[in-house]
C-alpha cells in the first residue's frame, strides 16, 4: 500500500504503583499505512488501551513513557510540547472511546460539543462551524442533523451517540483514527452499522484506523493486519487472513479457539486456563508460559524474541516453539 502513516517504535510505558514502576507496555513496535485498518487484539489488561493513550499522550500523571518513538508521518509525537500536541490531537489524530453514552458531556448540546473541536482547530466563524457540524453529522448517517444538533446526549440512543462521537472525531478530518473498542457497548445490529460506517470513512478519506478490540469477529470483518498483545508485549503480528488460517503463537490459537462457532455443537467453550499475570509479578521467561500447554523448560527461563517468521517480513511471532522449529529446518 502507500506510505507509512504511523510508526510506533519500541514503545515502553510505565505506571507508578506504590513506590515502584511497573511496565504496562513493553517494547511495542508496529506501523499503520494510510488507509489501512490495523487491529490491536488482546484480553483485558494486556496494554491495548495504554498503547493507544501513549500515542495520543493522554496518559494519567502517574505514568511515563520511558522509551521509544511515536512517529506520525515522520514527526515524533513524544517530543512535542503540550501546545504542539494539543494541535495534533483532534486535528491529525482523533480518538473514539468505548462508552458512547458516557463519552458525551451530559450538560452540553451536541452542537456545542461538535463545534468545539471545529472552532479549536480551524479559523471558522460560528456559522461555518455549524455548517461543518451539520455536514459531518449527515456524513455519519444521522438522518436529521439539525434536530440532533439541538438535542442533549441523553435524548439520543447508544448507536446515535456513537455516530455523534465518530462525527466529532472526524470533524477535522484526521489522518489517523484510534478506535478504542468502539462497538463494545452497543448491541450487535448497531455494531454492524458502526463498523460499516468506519469502513466507509476509511474508503472515502483514506484514514488510517487503529482498531483496538477484544472481539475477533470485528477484527475478521474490518482489519487488514492484526497485532496480538499479551501482558504488555506483542506476541504475534500477521495479515488478518493468515492469522485466522494459520496462527503461530499458542496464545493466538487459544484466542481464536475460544470464539464460539454457530452450529458446532460443542457444549462448553474451550478457554485458556489461568489469567493475565499481574504487572508487578511477571513470570521470568515467556509471559505466557504458565498458561501455555506447549511450555518447555526454556520458556520458563528465557523470554523469546519477537522474530520475523516469513519472507516478506509481514509476520512476526514471539515463541520459542517456532524458533526451535526454524533451527531444526
Amino acid at each position: 500500500m502507500s506510505e507509512k502513516l504511523l510508526e510506533v517504535k519500541n514503545l515502553r510505558t510505565e505506571f507508578k504503583r506504590d513506590k515502584s514502576w511497573v511496565t504496562a507496555v513493553n517494547n511495542v513496535s508496529f506501523d499503520i499505512n494510510e488507509g489501512e485498518i490495523l487491529g490491536l487484539v488482546g484480553e483485558s489488561g494486556c496494554g491495548k488501551s495504554v498503547t493507544s493513550l501513549s500515542i495520543m499522550r493522554l496518559l494519567a500523571r502517574n505514568s511515563k513513557i520511558s522509551n521509544g518513538q511515536v512517529l506520525l508521518k515522520g514527526k515524533n509525537l513524544l517530543e512535542k510540547d503540550n501546545k504542539e500536541i494539543r494541535k495534533i490531537r483532534g486535528r491529525e489524530v482523533a480518538m473514539i472511546f468505548q462508552e458512547p453514552m458516557n463519552s458525551l458531556n451530559p450538560c452540553m448540546r451536541v452542537e456545542k460539543q461538535i463545534t468545539e473541536a471545529i472552532l479549536l482547530h480551524n479559523n471558522f466563524s460560528k456559522e461555518q462551524a455549524h455548517q461543518r457540524a451539520f455536514d459531518v453529522l449527515k456524513s455519519v448517517g444521522i438522518p436529521e442533523p439539525e434536530m440532533t444538533l439541538k438535542s442533549f446526549p441523553h435524548q439520543l440512543s447508544g448507536g446515535m451517540c456513537q455516530r455523534v462521537m465518530i462525527a466529532m472525531a472526524m470533524s477535522c478530518e484526521p489522518e489517523l483514527l484510534i478506535a478504542d473498542e468502539p462497538t463494545t457497548a452497543l448491541d450487535v445490529t448497531i455494531q454492524a452499522q458502526i463498523l460499516e460506517l468506519m469502513e466507509e470513512i476509511r474508503a472515502k478519506k483514506n484514514t488510517g484506523i487503529l482498531m483496538i478490540t477484544h472481539d475477533l469477529g470485528v477484527v475478521a470483518e474490518m482489519c487488514n493486519r492484526v497485532v496480538v498483545m499479551y501482558a504488555g508485549r506483542i506476541v504475534e503480528e500477521a495479515p488478518v487472513k493468515e492469522l485466522f488460517a494459520d496462527s503461530k503463537h499458542p496464545y493466538t490459537q487459544g484466542l481464536i479457539g475460544s470464539v464460539p462457532k454457530l452450529g458446532s455443537g460443542v457444549k462448553s467453550l474451550p478457554s485458556i486456563p489461568g489469567s493475565v499475570p499481574d504487572l508487578s509479578v511477571m513470570p521470568k521467561g515467556c509471559k505466557f508460559a504458565p498458561r501455555c500447554k506447549y511450555a518447555m523448560d526454556i520458556c520458563r527461563e528465557q523470554e523469546p524474541e519477537l522474530h520475523t517468521i516469513d519472507k516478506d517480513g509481514r509476520r512476526r511471532c514471539r515463541c520459542h516453539l517456532l524458533d526451535q522449529n526454524r533451527k531444526e529446518a
Binding site: R86, A94, N102, M108, M147, A169, Q193
Partner: protein
C-alpha cells in the same frame, strides 16, 4: 447500504419522540417541588421579602428616616402597625426598606464567597498535588473557626462598615464551597467525556471551566440557598454588635441592636426585627432542604 439508510430513519423517529423529554424534566422537577409544602411556603415568603425590598421605598406608609416626635416608642396601632422607635420612625417601614440592605449584603457576600470557593475548589480538585494541599489546608484552617468568630476577626482587621461585613461573610463562605466543588470535581474529572475533550485538543483551562464546571453546579445549589440564610444571620449579627451598618441606617441587625435599649418599655422594637430575621433565615434553610430532597434522586 440502502438497508442501512432505512434503519437510520427508524432511529430518527425514535429521537423525534424523545425530544420533548427535555422540557418535561423541568416540569417533573416543579411537580416534585410543589409537593413539598414547607419549601413552597418558604419560597413564597422569600419572594415576598425580596419583592418588598425592591419596591418598599415606593409603597411603605412612612419614609424610613422620617422622625415623628409626637409618637415616640409607640406600640403597634392602626397608624403604625408595628409601632415606632425612639425617634418616632415607623418600624414596619424601616424593616421593609431595611430588607434592601440586609438582603443585598447577604446576597452579594454569598455570591462573592461562592465564586471564590468554586474557583478554588475546581483548581484543587482538577490539578491536585501541591495546589490541592495548599488550598484545602487553608480551608481547613478557616473551618476551624466558628463562622461568627471568623467574621468578627476579619472585621476587626479590616475595620467596620457594610462593605467590610460583606467581605467578612464572603470569607467564611469560601471554604464550604471549595470543599463541595473539590469533591464534585474529583468525580467529574474521571468522566469519559473529559478524556474525549482532551483527545480533541482542548486546553486544561477550557476543560476545567467548560466541561467540568457545569457538572459540579448541581452539588452546590442547595448549599448556596442555605448559605444565604447563614449570611443574613451573620450580617445581622455583625450589625447587632455594631460592626456593620450605621445605627441610623435601617438595617435589621442594627435595628435589633437599637431596640435592645428599650427592651422593657418598647419590646416591639426587638420583636419585629427579630421575627423577621428568624423567619427569613428559616425560609432560606427550609427552601434549601426542599431543594435537596427534590434534587436528590435517592430521596424519591
Amino acid at each position: 447500504m440502502a438497508e442501512l439508510k432505512t434503519n437510520n430513519n427508524k432511529e430518527m423517529f425514535a429521537t423525534g419522540e424523545e425530544l420533548p423529554k427535555a422540557q418535561s424534566k423541568v416540569k417533573e422537577f416543579v411537580k416534585k417541588f410543589v409537593k413539598r409544602k414547607t419549601a413552597v411556603i418558604s419560597l413564597i415568603f422569600i419572594i415576598f421579602i425580596i419583592l418588598m425590598a425592591v419596591i418598599a421605598p415606593y409603597v411603605v406608609p412612612y419614609a424610613p428616616d422620617q422622625p415623628d416626635y409626637t409618637n415616640l416608642l409607640q406600640g403597634p396601632s392602626t397608624a403604625h402597625i408595628w409601632g415606632t422607635d425612639e425617634f418616632g420612625q415607623d418600624v414596619f417601614s424601616r424593616l421593609m426598606v431595611g430588607g434592601r440592605l440586609s438582603l443585598s449584603c447577604a446576597l452579594i457576600a454569598t455570591i462573592v464567597g461562592t465564586a471564590l470557593g468554586v474557583v478554588l475548589g475546581l483548581i484543587a480538585g482538577f490539578y491536585g498535588g501541591f495546589w490541592d494541599s495548599l488550598i484545602m489546608r487553608c480551608c481547613d484552617v478557616l473551618f476551624a473557626f466558628p463562622d461568627i468568630l471568623l467574621a468578627i476577626a476579619v472585621v476587626a482587621i479590616i475595620g467596620q462598615g457594610m462593605v467590610n461585613v460583606m467581605i467578612a461573610v464572603a470569607v467564611f463562605t469560601v471554604p464550604s464551597f471549595a470543599r463541595i466543588i473539590r469533591s464534585a470535581t474529583l468525580s467529574v474529572k474521571q468522566a469519559p467525556y473529559v478524556e474525549v475533550a482532551r483527545s480533541l485538543g482542548c486546553k486544561n483551562s477550557r476543560i476545567l471551566f467548560v466541561h467540568v464546571f457545569p457538572g459540579t453546579i448541581q452539588s452546590m445549589i442547595v448549599n448556596f440557598t442555605m448559605r444565604i440564610g447563614t449570611a443574613i444571620l451573620a450580617a445581622s449579627s455583625l450589625s447587632f454588635l455594631g460592626f456593620g451598618a450605621n445605627v441610623t441606617e435601617p438595617d435589621w441587625g442594627a435595628m435589633l441592636s437599637q431596640g435592645r435599649n428599650y427592651l422593657n418599655t418598647a419590646p416591639h422594637m426587638v420583636l419585629f426585627p427579630g421575627i423577621l430575621i428568624f423567619l427569613t433565615v428559616l425560609a432560606f434553610n427550609l427552601l434549601g432542604d426542599g431543594l435537596r430532597d427534590t434534587l436528590d434522586p435517592k430521596m424519591n
